[in-house]
Structure formats: C-alpha cells, structure tokens
C-alpha cells in the first residue's frame, strides 16, 4: 500500500465503547484526515491527541489501517 502522505484533521473522536475486534485498543482516537491529495481517509491518531485543523503525518499501516501522528 502506498503512503497517503500528510494531511489535516477534518474531524475526530476518542472511542471508549469499541466493537468486538478492538476491545483491547480503547480508548483510541479515530479521525477523518483531509489529505494533501484532496481526498479524505478515516484512520487512527497515534500518540498526542489531535484536534480539528491540526496537521498530521502518516506513520504506517497496521492491518490495513492508516495511522497518523500530530506533526511537530
């Protein structure tokens, strides 16, 4: 899979009540990222909490899910 690159947080939430597959991940931050290529992608935020408008950078894919991190 190719890197989606960096982007901006369009919206986000922190999930406390998970589906069965992610019971061990909670709480986790989920976000829709407005990518620089114009598209949007739903992924996870790793590390520091990110807010709407924050710049984020792609980290890696884990089980086909894109993880991002708040840009310095």
């Amino acid at each position: 899979m190719t890197s989606p690159g960096s982007g901006t947080v369009y919206t986000e939430t922190v999930v406390f009540s998970p589906p069965e597959a992610y019971v061990n991940d909670v709480p986790y931050q989920l976000a829709i990222i407005q990518l620089e290529n114009g598209r949007r992608l739903t992924g996870r935020i790793d590390g520091e909490h990110a807010r709407i408008g924050d710049k984020v950078a792609f980290v890696d894919f884990r089980n086909n899910v894109a993880f991002f991190r708040k840009a310095a």
Binding site: E12, T13, V15, S17, E20, N64, V65
Partner: protein, 386 residues
C-alpha cells in the same frame, strides 16, 4: 397514483425482553395492527417486513414468510427490506408505492429487531455493518464514533454545544416517561446528561439511543377503501426515500444529511406543504446530534440553528413544534428494524388524538424521518388526517 391511508397501527413495548423471540414480537405487532384496523389475515395481499440484522442478531433468515405465517398469512408476496436503521421506513415506502400504483389494496408492513440477546461489543460490531467495512469500520469506527465525528465538526463549524445536545436527551426522556410503551421511562436532568459516561467523545451514554427489542406494524389501504376499516384513517400526504454515500469520509459536508434534504424536498412537494407547515415530527435521534441535524436538514431551522432551537425548548411537548413526543429513539428505544414503522405509528397516534399524557393540540400535520447508517438512506413521510 392513488392516495394511500394508514388504517391500522400496532406496537409492542420496546425494551429488553429476554423471554421473547424475534418472531413473537413481530407477530404481536402485526396482530395488533390487524385488530386496530378490524382487518382479517386473509385480507392481506402483501407483507412488507423491515429488519436490519435478524440473521446476525439471532441467526434467523427468511424472515418475512416466517413471520407472516406466524399470523396465519400465507400465499402472498412476503419480503424483507434491509436499509440499516431505515429498514422499516424503506419497507413502508415500498409498500405505499405498491398500493399507490394499484398493485395491491390491503398491505401489512411490519418492522422488528431483536438486539438484546448479544453482548454490547457484538451489538456494536453488527451495527457497524451498516458502515463501510473496508474503510471507516476497519479503522475502528462504530456508529457512536461516526456521529461523534459529525458532532465534533458541527460544533467546530456552527458553535453547537454539549448543552444543546444534552437538551435533546433531557426532552426526549421527559416525553418517554409519559409513553407506556417506551423502553426507558425515566426523566433525566441536564446535569446528569452532561456527566454521562463517555462512549465516543463528545458523545456520552445520554447522547446515544438504546439497544432494544421490539416491533411495530401498520395496515395500509387505498384512501377510497379506508372507510371499510375501523378507526380514523391517516392519509400519507407525501413520502420519499433517497440515498447517499455509505462512508462518512466520502461525504462532502458531514454536517448535512444530504439524503434527508433530498427526501424531504420530494415529500414536501408531493404533499404540497412547506417545512413551516409541519406541526410536529418524529425524528431519527439515534444520537442527539442527529436530531439537531434533522431539524436543520428538514428545513425547520437554518443550518447551524438546530442546537439553539433545541436548547430554547422549541421542540418540547409545549414548544412551537414538538419533536419526538414518543420519547424518540433515545427513550422510547431503538430496535433498529422497527424504528421506521414505529415512527409512523407514533405520528398516527398523535393525529388520532390517542397519545394520552403526551397528546399535543396542534396535531393535524406530522412528519416522520427515518435514517439509515450515517445518512446513506433517508425516508421522509408526511401524514395528515384523511
């Protein structure tokens, strides 16, 4: 196209019923609707069933003939419609379309869901099947999470507040406490609503509708034959079903439910009314923010004004336009496949003047709005006294 009327309504209580199976709930609602209309099973020419996930929740497939036969109805078309939480709204839309077109005269439409036999993470996973499994759901989205992201964006763009969302929950609980068939007949305070356990920030448990068992049914017929049935007929003045993208990240503006706008525009046109004419409504408050969005996208208020509208009390029982006098999905309960037809029953009950403690005075023209997923299906129905 022939005018169509709702000539019978029937609902089970909504709640957690460990001793009841899906079929018995659907049969109870159907038989109540037939009894209300004074119609006999052999008069039913087609059976339309709304059910979202019976196969996942209880393992049963081939539900429509199974339920119909449970009421002694055989030898007719019996079909299940699936459109997530708008499943029975879609069944109702298709049934009304068939009667309006002259295909059948007397039709039974039932919605049912049996959800409480599964643990919460499993229920969450089954419900997430109404989202995009290859994208948002794989990333960890649940339905509370999708509507939480809608809420965050609505707060960011329009200044909507936690208090405004909580006002929806407080109002719907107050109404539900007056509804003998509601799942949760408990008044809550603003303080309680704001201090709820987080589910998906900014939504707490008080922003989320209930996981319920239940069923609802209506008998419909051409208006010209309505007098053959008991009770006051309710006319379907306008109805429309429209679709949109399933994935939230494929929608241009997630603060607007585009399918609600398109289905509402068609329903208003068919009924020859404007949003300002609608006196009361049953709206799809799967989450408090969804009721706020619906008031905007149905044209009751301008975009961004839904939160202040709720907090100002305009939508409470004594307000200018009561919304969810039944208690809504929040307090009445949300057995997802039953919700669309349940809303039709609740609007009809108000127009018939049979809503008891929660009866409103301006009850001539009501609207029901049933939503599937994060807005990929919308059914809007406008009902009035025949």
């Amino acid at each position: 196209m022939r005018p169509v009327a709702v000539v019978g309504i029937g609902k089970t209580a909504f709640g957690a019923f460990p001793d009841r199976d899906l079929r018995s709930l659907a049969v109870e609602a159907g038989q109540k609707a037939l009894a209300d209309a004074h119609a006999k099973p052999e008069q039913i020419e087609a059976f339309y069933l709304g059910n979202f996930a019976g196969p996942s929740f209880v393992g049963q497939n081939h539900l429509a003939p199974y339920i119909a036969a449970g009421m002694g109805i055989i030898g007719i078309p019996a079909t299940r419609f699936e459109a997530a939480c708008a499943s029975s709204g879609a069944a109702f839309f298709n049934a009304v379309s068939a009667v309006a077109a002259g295909l059948y005269d007397v039709v039974l439409v039932t919605g049912v869901e049996k959800m409480t036999s599964q643990p919460t993470p499993k229920v969450t996973e089954i419900l997430a099947g109404a989202g995009d499994l290859c994208g948002e759901v794989r990333a960890g989205a649940t339905f509370p999470a999708l509507f939480a992201m809608i809420a965050r964006r609505h707060m960011y763009q329009y200044g909507t507040t936690r208090e405004q969302m909580a006002a929806v929950a407080v109002k719907n609980h107050a109404n539900g406490a007056k509804n003998p068939l509601a799942h949760m007949r408990k008044v809550i305070t603003m303080e309680q609503a704001l201090a709820g356990k987080p589910i998906a920030e900014p939504l707490t448990v008080y922003d989320c509708s209930l996981v319920s068992d239940g069923a609802a049914a209506v008998v419909i017929a051409p208006l010209e034959r309505a007098s053959e049935f008991a009770g006051k007929p309710i006319r379907v003045l306008g109805i429309s079903q429209t679709s949109d993208n399933v994935a939230l990240d494929e929608k241009d503006d997630i603060t607007t439910l585009r399918a609600v706008k398109t289905s509402a525009a068609k329903a208003y046109k068919m009924a020859g009314v404007s949003p300002a004419d609608i006196q009361f409504a049953e709206l799809h408050d799967c989450f408090t923010i969804a009721e706020i969005l619906a008031t905007e996208d149905l044209g009751f208020v301008e975009k961004g004004e839904g939160g202040p509208y709720a907090l100002a009390g305009k939508t409470c029982l004594q307000g200018e336009r009561p919304i969810n006098t039944s208690g809504g999905l929040k307090a009445k309960g949300h057995p997802v496949g039953a919700t669309g037809v349940g809303q039709i029953c609740d609007v009809a009950l108000q127009i018939r003047g049979e809503a008891g403690e929660r009866q409103i005075a301006r009850n001539k023209l009501g609207l029901a709005q049933n939503l599937g997923g994060s807005g990929a299906t919308s059914v809007v129905t406008i009902l009035g006294a025949a």
